[in-house]
């Protein structure tokens, strides 16, 4: 596979997802002002679906495109995590000034924040398997299972499973117990 320019193999896939996320968030936030009910519904549904796809499932697109444009695994991982990191930073902005530095650090382990990282890692792992499978099917000399991709897959699975087990209640209550122990 030919290694394309950094713009094409790394910046473009990341920028598309990031750009779509920014547009969709703003479109969603502004949709309440649209007077036409049908148009409002179209904007709400389109922007909401795009928003969730980019925030939670972005690597399925980013990693896949970067893979076939010759990006290394590190580059693919970097490109894949840009959108979730920006979203997490945006989320963090709402907490700054309310909670202490220690609490903000602990917030990383919140099921929603950690879960976002986990689901994105899972998507990286899934994308890696799909890309490698497709490349092999086309006669490419590539191993289906490579350690970094499998590690992302397993880490993503563990985090996602832990976060969703028992409807998310178990992890959340442990999280809050630890919070109380540390900060109260």
């Amino acid at each position: 596979m030919k290694k394309q320019t950094i713009t094409r193999r790394l910046i473009f896939p990341a920028a598309v997802t990031l750009g779509l996320m920014i547009i969709s968030i703003n479109a969603y936030d502004l949709s309440g002002a649209i007077q036409n009910v049908l148009l409002q519904e179209i904007v709400v549904y389109t922007s909401a679906i795009l928003m969730f796809a980019t925030i939670w499932l972005g690597p399925l697109f980013v990693n896949t495109l970067a893979f076939f444009r010759g990006a290394s695994f590190s580059e693919r991982m970097l490109a894949s995590l840009i959108t979730p990191v920006v979203w997490i930073a945006k989320t963090y902005a709402h907490f700054i000034g309310i909670y202490s530095f220690g609490e903000l650090v602990f917030l990383i382990l919140h099921p929603l924040i950690l879960g976002n990282i986990g689901v994105n890692l899972l998507c990286v792992g899934i994308s890696e398997l799909i890309c490698r499978h497709r490349l092999r099917a086309k006669g490419g000399a590539i191993r289906l299972f490579e350690a970094p991709g499998i590690a992302a897959l397993i880490a993503g699975l563990i985090i996602t499973f832990a976060g969703l087990w028992n409807g998310g209640h178990t992890y959340y209550y442990y999280y809050m117990d630890v919070y109380s122990w540390l900060f109260m």
Binding site: E41, H94, Y179, M184
Partner: protein, 496 residues
Amino acid sequence: MENKKHPLENNNLSRREFLKKTGGAAVMAGIAGMGLGVLPCCGPEGDNRVHHILPRDVYVPETVKRRADKPNIIFILTDDHRWDHLGCMGHPFLQTPNLDRIANEGVIFENSFVTTSLCSPSRASFLTGQYAHRHGVVTNHTPWNNSNTTFMEYIKAAGYDTAFIGKWHMPGRDLPQLRGIDHFITFTKEGGQGVYYDCPLIIDGVETSRPGKYITDDLTDFALEYIKRPRANPFCLYLSHKAVHFGFRPPKHLRGIYKGVDLQLPRESNIFNTYTNNHMFVGAPISMNMLYRNYCETIVSVDEQTGRLFSTMEVMGALDNTIIVYAGDNGHSWGEQGRYDKRHPYEESIRIPFMVRYPGEIRQPGRRVSQMALNIDLAPTLLDMIGIPVPEEMQGISLVPALKNPEAEIRSNFLYEHFPVFPIPIPGMTAVRTDQYKYITYHNDVRPAELYNLRKDPGEKNNIIRKPEFQALLSELRAELEKLKHETGYRYYTKG
């Protein structure tokens, strides 16, 4: 049915050990006076008896103690039930005939509010008649202080049989040492929030599994059993439902009754509200419309069970000599300007249903009172209704004048307060609400202050704080807010 000692109980403390641990305060209290408080379950291992704890200094006039015709009291508290979700408040499809009956045969305070829109602080305020910054339960994480005095203590001392049945939901290593409660049924599952189905109950200190039980029905069953007990004294029942808190699970026979109904949510609401604008920090990834439908169906179950209480009281011939109060612990946003949940200072979050039925005291039943009532008014109102002078420590005021006289003035404004609750991105705040305006300030100015004209802008969509014509009013409201904070002994809590 599996019964086991609940781990949160002080089940290893003997009476002597307990007295030793509470010695200092107890001695002071003992010197001060006599009461009749009890502590559920503080005996040695395996001993589930209810033990009396040291009395507190609660003053109840002898004339009240000796009064033979004291009314029974039933206080029904629900969770997250906002003010306008009642048939009698004109909800477009929700039918609540039994709850409406309280209003139609009593008084509904149409402008009722909580001083903090969050479960635990509000619940402690109902019990103590105090602001959160006074009773100390400022968030769902800060523990109940056993030195707090509840109105149930006074009522017990006045010669009542007392029961607390339902949601306690205040943090602390142990269940509370509630003086003045004879019979205590509660739950600690999921941090005290409980669950709608199969929720284990702690019945006078004994954890008891409840397989197959729907919690609103189950708590009502216990309430009915308590009401029907033969007794020489009047009773005071504090029935505190889990419903209609998040989870919003109706009983099986009510599931889907509002399927296909036009929910008539605000125009700016949509099914994705619960997933966006950080709302996932307070809920689960379930669509707004589904949650709202379940919420309404769950309210119907509360209405049904309230009907059972009415029926039983009627059969017993005790209905008209019973003070019945119904209230919610805070409101709930359902998409107003994209908002979801509570905590914030906007109307749908802070406004609650508050209704009183007591034919013996209320003039012109069916009356709607537009003056502002608060959750901290419950305790002084109930004490006043049975003739106990309102203790100075209570910061609410008695609503009895408004029950008797449609023209009675209650208050011209009140202080709203909220303290940050990790991990929710809502800052600490204080606000003053008058009958026309609301001025909101955020701790450390992390967000810009807000001012709304509630008469012209009931949806609080237009922040008029920068408009020149309101600057004089703004100065007055700022001064009023500072005055209220000073009068109530406000302090900011950083940990919650």
